[in-house]
Symmetry: C2
Subunit: 138 residues, 2 copies
DNA sequence: CTATTCTATCGTAATCATTTCGATTTGTAA
DNA sequence: TTACAAATCGAAATGATTACGATAGAATAG
């Protein structure tokens, strides 16, 4: 997902271009990992002093609705990362040191088709956490 | 995990017995699934009118520290369930209708040992959501 | 049984993340 | 460039959770 793709999706859905929105997308495109609303606010305040919390949270919600961002919750805080848009369903490894997210080839769901034959599986949550090779060796 | 086991663990760690604590544990032992602080409060108010929020949240935190309860987050709310204490690492299927949690035999981690040979896996999150046979057929 | 000593609880206020609101500004299509 | 819907601001509201000073209660030793 690139910034201009995100802007295009915004426009296609009747939303407007603003510099702030481009900068928010740019922040997540370059972050390559999960970031909090607070971290985004800190980043945005360097370019736009006095930016409203409304702007931060409204856009995070909008971007998540449009599937430009994905989120998870931790310690009562919502964390966001840029969406993958690879088209195919997949999971991630997340580096706890640098925040890098690595897409995984396989999905663990087939492991359970037998054990849960009588159950109706709707969704699943799966993520791995640890250290990427770079962080592990330094 | 039974109520008296939980009370024993409390005492072993220098905490005192109270009827409220026994009732909180009993609530989760019989719930067999995730419940919110608000749901626990509603239950406790039937026996103890005027119970303090402090009591609810302090004990939830304490029980989680002592690993009598486990938690996950959803929509900015923390949900708690009784701990399994089976000794062995395992995951759960969670019924979205009745809240039932079913322990799963297998762990999906082995699926990724090859793909993540250069990575250092620390922890992982995995849970399945859907309908249990009972809720599915009604 | 009673005194002593912590721990638990209450009632309430504070905190933190997030959402909402009325007024104003800005993007964009005609 | 004009008109209008959408975006933003500044600030207040909400909802879940945590914290605090004062009181009540459980455990232990004498």
């Amino acid at each position: 997902m690139q910034v201009d793709e995100g802007i295009a999706i915004l426009k296609k859905n009747g939303h407007k271009y603003t510099d702030k929105r481009a900068d928010i997308l740019s922040y997540f495109v370059h972050a390559k990992g999960y970031r909090s609303a607070k971290a985004l606010l800190a980043f945005m305040e360097t370019s736009y002093q006095g930016i409203s919390l409304d702007t931060i949270y409204r856009n995070l919600r909008l971007f998540e609705q449009l599937e430009l961002l994905e989120s998870r919750e931790k310690n009562g805080e919502k964390l966001f990362k840029i969406a993958c848009k690879s088209g195919t369903h997949h999971h991630h490894f997340v580096c706890e040191s640098c925040g890098l997210t690595k897409p995984l080839d396989k999905c663990p769901l087939p492991v359970y088709t037998e054990e849960l034959a009588d159950y109706h599986i709707h969704t699943h949550a799966f993520e791995l956490y640890g250290l990427c090779p770079t962080c592990h060796h330094s």
